[in-house]
C-alpha cells in the first residue's frame, strides 16, 4: 500500500465512522440538519431548580423547557439580533390580562401546548413548577422573588387552561420575570410519578431526565463532554426551529475552540475572549458577533469602609486617574461600549448604562487628591477574581500604573474564584476591587437595587445612602410610563456620578464566532446559547 492509498482509505473510513451511529437512527441526515456548538464550560445539570446547577446549565432550561412568556427580538445597529426587553411575547401562554389594580395577571394557556409525552400543558403544571422553584430554594427562589413571587399561595389554578398570579404589590418586574430561565414549566404528572418521600419535587429524576414541552429534547447527555438536542416537531411555543439536531460540545481549551471554528468543523463557538474576537473579525471564513450585555458594567468599586475612599475628593481623583481608553484597548480589545467621558454631571437621559462624566486627567486627579486628607497618597490593594483574569489582570495593571502617577500606591491582589464571592460580595472586605454585575431584568432601578443598596450582594462598596435607598424603593416596581419615574431615575444616576461607589470602565459585550452561513444567532440577557432561532 502506498501513501496515497493509505490516505484514501483513511478518509473513507473517517467519513464512515463519522456517519455511522446517527445513520442508524436517522437515515436521511443531511448537512444543514445538524449544528455543532462548542462551549468552554461544563453543563452540570438538566434541572435549573436543583441546588448546585451552574450557569452554563441554564441553556438547558432555555432550549428544552418553555415559560409562559418570552421576550421579542430586535435588530441592533450592526445588524445582529438581540432580545427585546420591552416586548413580552407569548410562549406557552396564548394571552394574558392584567387586572385594573395591576395586582392580578391571568394567563390563558395555548390549547395545542403539549409536553413531549403528549399530555397537554395545564395550569396545574404551571403551578407545580412555580411552587417547585420556591420550594427548592437557592437561586430559583431568589429570582422568583425579584418578580414579587414569594408564596405558593400567589399561584392559582383557575381552570385547566387558565392560570393566575396574585401579586402582593403591583410591579413592572412581575411579567418579565416570568420570561427568565428559572420560570420553566415542567410536566408535573411525569415528574410526580418519580417523586419520593425524601425527594417530593423529583429533583433526582429531573436532574438527568428533563420533562418539558420545549423546542428541543435532550437526546443524550455525556456529562463533561456533550449534550445533544433534537428538535421537538410538535413545539407550540414558537416557530419551529430550523435545525434538527444541535450538538453542544464542551471544549475546555480556548485555542482548540478557535482552531475548530476556523477550520469550519463547528458552526458556533459561543462566548470567545475579546482578543480572539478582535483577531477573528478580519477572518473572512468566520463571522464574529459582539452583543453589548444589557444592564451590565465592568466597574472598579471603591469601598466606603476604607478610610481614604470616604473622602469624595479621593474617589473623584481615582475616577480621573483611571486610564479608560488604554483599558478599553488593552483589556477589552476595543470590543465593548465606552462608559466614560460624558460632558455633563447631570444625566441627559435615563438610558442605562450610560457614560459617567469622568475621563483620564491626571492634573485634575492630582489637584483633587491634594484637596483631601490624603494629599501625600496612600497604599491600597486592588483585588480581582482570578476567574475573570482575562480582563481583570490587564485592567488592574493599567490602573496600578496610572494611580501610581498621582501617588496612590496600588498592589495587586489576585483572588481564586472559589473565594471571590465570600470575600468580595458577602463579607465585602476588599477596599478596591473589579466587579462585573449585570441584571437579568433590564431596568436601571433593578441594577441600582442590587449594587447600590448596602444589604444587597453586589454592593461590594458598602455604599449606603438614604436618598438612593428611597429612590430605589420608589422606582423598583414603578411603571416606566409613570411621570415620576424618569426624574427619579435621573436623580439616581446623578447620585451614582457624584458618589462613585462604582466607577464604570466599560459595558462588556458577549462575543461569539460562527460559520458565515449560520444565521439567527440572538443575544440573550442570560448569556447562554438559544438554539431555537439558529439557522444554517
Amino acid at each position: 500500500m502506498n501513501r496515497r492509498d493509505l490516505l484514501k482509505t483513511t478518509s473513507g473510513a473517517a467519513l464512515g465512522a463519522a456517519m455511522l451511529p446517527f445513520l442508524k437512527s436517522n437515515a436521511f441526515a443531511q448537512a444543514g440538519d445538524t449544528a455543532v456548538v462548542v462551549i468552554g464550560n461544563t453543563i452540570n445539570s438538566l434541572d435549573i431548580h436543583r441546588t448546585g446547577t451552574n450557569r452554563p446549565s441554564y441553556q438547558v432550561a432555555v432550549n428544552v423547557y418553555d415559560r409562559l412568556v418570552s421576550f421579542g427580538t430586535r435588530t441592533l445597529k450592526d445588524g445582529s439580533l438581540s432580545f427585546d426587553y420591552s416586548k413580552v411575547v407569548p410562549e406557552l401562554a396564548e394571552s394574558w390580562t392584567i387586572s385594573p389594580d395591576r395586582k392580578t395577571i391571568t394567563f390563558k394557556i395555548k390549547a395545542n401546548a403539549k409536553f413531549w409525552d403528549g399530555s397537554p400543558v395545564t395550569a396545574e403544571d404551571v403551578k407545580w413548577s412555580f411552587d417547585r422553584a420556591l420550594a427548592l430554594g437557592g437561586f430559583p427562589r431568589f429570582q422568583m422573588g425579584a418578580g414579587g413571587f414569594v408564596d405558593p399561595g400567589q399561584f392559582v389554578v383557575v381552570d385547566p387552561k387558565t392560570f393566575q398570579v396574585n401579586l402582593k404589590q403591583p410591579s413592572k418586574l412581575s411579567l418579565p420575570n416570568l420570561a427568565v430561565p428559572v420560570a420553566v414549566v415542567i410536566n408535573s404528572k411525569a415528574a410526580k410519578a418519580r417523586a419520593t418521600a425524601a425527594d417530593p419535587w423529583a429533583a433526582e429524576f429531573l436532574h438527568t431526565n428533563p420533562q418539558g414541552s420545549g423546542a428541543y429534547k435532550v437526546e443524550r447527555w455525556d456529562a463533561g463532554q456533550q449534550l445533544v438536542y433534537v428538535r421537538n416537531d410538535d413545539w407550540a411555543g414558537g416557530p419551529k426551529p430550523a435545525i434538527r439536531r444541535v450538538i453542544i460540545r464542551e471544549v475546555p481549551s480556548q485555542s482548540t475552540r478557535r482552531a475548530l471554528i476556523e477550520r469550519g468543523d463547528v458552526q458556533l463557538s459561543f462566548q470567545i475572549p475579546n482578543k480572539d474576537a478582535q483577531e477573528l473579525a478580519s477572518n473572512s471564513k468566520v463571522k464574529v458577533v459582539g452583543s453589548p450585555i444589557d444592564n451590565c458594567l465592568y466597574v472598579a468599586c471603591l469601598n466606603y469602609n476604607f478610610e481614604p475612599f470616604q473622602d469624595p475628593n479621593v474617589r473623584k481623583a481615582v475616577a480621573f486617574a483611571i486610564p479608560y481608553q488604554q483599558i478599553f484597548d488593552q483589556a477589552a480589545f476595543g470590543r465593548g461600549v465606552p462608559m466614560w467621558g460624558a460632558q455633563s454631571a447631570k444625566p441627559s437621559s435615563i438610558a442605562w448604562p450610560q457614560p459617567f462624566p469622568y475621563s483620564t486627567n491626571l492634573e485634575q486627579a492630582r489637584s483633587l487628591l491634594s484637596k483631601s486628607k490624603f494629599a501625600k497618597g496612600f497604599e491600597v490593594p486592588l483585588s480581582f477574581d482570578l476567574g475573570e483574569a482575562d480582563w481583570g489582570e490587564p485592567t488592574a495593571l493599567l490602573i496600578q500604573e496610572s494611580l501610581g502617577k498621582i501617588g496612590i500606591k496600588v498592589t495587586l491582589d489576585k483572588v481564586p474564584g472559589a473565594n471571590w464571592r465570600t470575600l468580595a460580595l458577602v463579607e465585602k472586605k476588599f477596599p478596591f476591587l473589579l466587579e462585573n454585575f449585570g441584571g437579568w431584568l433590564n431596568t436601571p432601578c433593578y441594577y441600582f437595587y442590587y449594587s447600590y443598596l448596602k444589604e444587597n450582594l453586589f454592593n461590594a462598596s458598602n455604599y449606603d445612602d438614604q436618598t438612593v435607598r428611597q429612590l430605589v424603593n420608589e422606582t423598583l416596581h414603578m411603571e416606566p410610563s409613570d411621570p415620576a419615574y424618569a426624574p427619579k431615575i435621573r436623580q439616581l444616576i446623578e447620585k451614582a456620578f457624584e458618589d462613585l461607589p462604582r466607577i464604570p470602565l466599560w459595558q462588556p459585550t458577549l462575543e461569539s464566532a460562527m460559520a458565515q452561513r449560520l444565521t439567527g444567532y440572538t443575544f440573550w440577557y442570560h448569556r447562554q446559547v438559544d438554539a431555537r432561532s439558529l439557522k444554517i
Binding site: A14, P21, S45, T51, T422
Partner: protein, 339 residues
C-alpha cells in the same frame, strides 16, 4: 510464601496508608479557603439561600460528624456527589479514569518502544551521532511544555494539514461511544465489533498520546542509556565477552536485562505522574480525563470530587507499586518481594 499471599498481605499493608490519606484529604479539603455553599448557591444568592445550600450539603455539621458520615458513605461504596459535574463521584471516576488510563498507557507504550531502543543505541554508540541525536530528542521532548507540543501538533496536523481529526476528545463529533464494558474505547469497540468506532477512537488518541509520549521519552531514554552504560562497563559483561558469547546474547540477555531494573522503576513513576498530571494535554484535546476533573473540582472547592480523586489515585499508586515490585522479580530472579 506463595505469591498470592504476598500480594494480599501487601494490599493489607496499604490499608493504614489509605486511611491516613482519607483523613488528610478530608481535613485538607475542609481547610481550602473557598466556601462551596456560597460558590454553588449561584451568582445572586442571599445569606439565607447560602445557608440552605450549606445545610443541604451537610456542611453545617461539625467536622467529626461530617467525617463519620463520609466514612459511612464510603463503606457503602458511595463516594458522594460532585457539585461541579452534578454526577455521583463514582460514576465520574468510572468515566474519566479509563479515559486517562487509556491515554497514558498508549502514550507509555509508544514512549517505551522509542525510548528503550534509543537509549540502548545511545549507550552502544556512546558519543557518536546516534548518542547526540538521542540527547537532542530527549532534551527537546522534556523542555517543551506539553500544552505547547500539543498545540503545535494540533496546529500542524489538524489546522494546517487537516490529517488529524478535530481535537474533540475521545471520539469524533457524530460517533457515539461503544457500549461500555471496560471503559477503554480501544477494547470496548472491537468487542462490540464496531471497527469504525475503533478506528475513530484510535485516530482521536494519536495526537494526545504522541504529545504525552514526547514528554515521557526523556526520563526513560536517559535512564536506559545510563543504566545500559553501567551494565556494559561491569565485570560480568567483560567476562561474558571474554567467554566468547554472541554479542546479541551479551547485549540482550545480560546487559539489557540488568539495565532494565531502574528503567522499570522510572516507568512506574512516570506512569503515575502522567496519569494525574496531564491536565494540560487533556485541556488541549478536550480529553475527559481525571486530571482536569481534579483541577476543576479544586477550583470549585468540590469536596466529594477532590476526595474521590485522591482516593482513586492512592489506590492506583498502591496497585502500581505492587506491579512494579512484581515486575522486578520477573526481571531479576535474585530479588524477592517480601510480605
Amino acid at each position: 510464601m506463595s505469591r498470592l499471599i504476598v500480594v494480599l498481605s501487601r494490599l493489607g499493608q496499604a490499608l493504614p496508608t489509605l486511611l491516613g490519606i482519607l483523613v488528610v484529604t478530608f481535613l485538607m479539603t475542609r481547610a481550602l479557603p473557598g466556601d462551596p455553599a456560597a460558590f454553588f448557591a449561584g451568582p445572586a444568592a442571599t445569606t439565607e439561600s447560602i445557608a440552605e445550600v450549606r445545610a443541604k450539603l451537610g456542611l453545617d455539621q461539625p467536622l467529626p460528624v461530617q467525617f463519620v458520615d463520609y466514612l459511612a458513605d464510603l463503606l457503602r461504596g458511595n463516594l458522594g456527589q460532585s457539585l461541579s459535574t452534578g454526577q455521583p463521584v463514582l460514576s465520574d471516576l468510572a468515566q474519566r479514569l479509563p479515559a486517562s488510563l487509556e491515554l497514558t498507557l498508549v502514550a507509555l507504550v509508544l514512549s517505551v518502544s522509542i525510548a528503550v531502543p534509543l537509549g540502548v543505541l545511545a549507550a552502544l554508540k556512546q558519543d557518536t551521532w546516534v548518542d547526540q541525536l538521542c540527547r537532542f530528542i530527549v532534551t527537546a521532548g522534556v523542555s517543551l511544555p506539553t500544552f505547547f507540543t500539543g498545540l503545535v501538533l494540533v496546529y500542524v496536523f489538524y489546522y494546517l494539514l487537516g490529517i488529524a481529526p478535530s481535537p474533540l476528545g475521545r471520539i469524533d463529533i457524530i460517533s457515539l461511544p461503544p457500549p461500555r464494558v471496560t471503559g477503554f474505547y480501544l477494547i470496548d469497540a472491537p468487542l462490540a465489533g464496531e471497527w469504525q468506532t475503533t478506528w475513530s477512537a484510535l485516530k482521536q488518541l494519536a495526537l494526545p498520546s504522541i504529545t504525552l509520549a514526547l514528554f515521557t521519552l526523556a526520563p526513560l531514554a536517559r535512564m536506559t542509556r545510563a543504566s545500559m552504560l553501567q551494565a556494559l562497563g561491569s565485570d560480568f559483561i567483560r567476562t561474558a565477552k571474554a567467554c566468547g558469547l554472541r554479542s546479541s546474547k551479551v547485549l540482550f540477555s545480560y546487559a539489557l536485562r540488568n539495565a532494565l531494573l531502574p528503567v522499570v522503576t522510572t516507568l512506574g513513576m512516570v506512569f503515575s505522574f502522567s496519569l494525574g498530571a496531564n491536565v494540560l494535554v487533556e485541556k488541549v484535546f478536550s480529553w475527559p480525563g481525571i486530571g482536569s476533573y481534579a483541577i476543576e473540582a479544586l477550583v470549585a472547592s468540590d469536596y466529594a470530587a477532590v476526595q474521590g480523586f485522591v482516593l482513586a489515585m492512592a489506590v492506583l499508586f498502591v496497585v502500581l507499586n505492587l506491579c512494579v515490585d512484581i515486575a522486578y522479580t520477573l526481571i531479576d530472579p535474585r530479588l524477592k518481594i517480601d510480605g
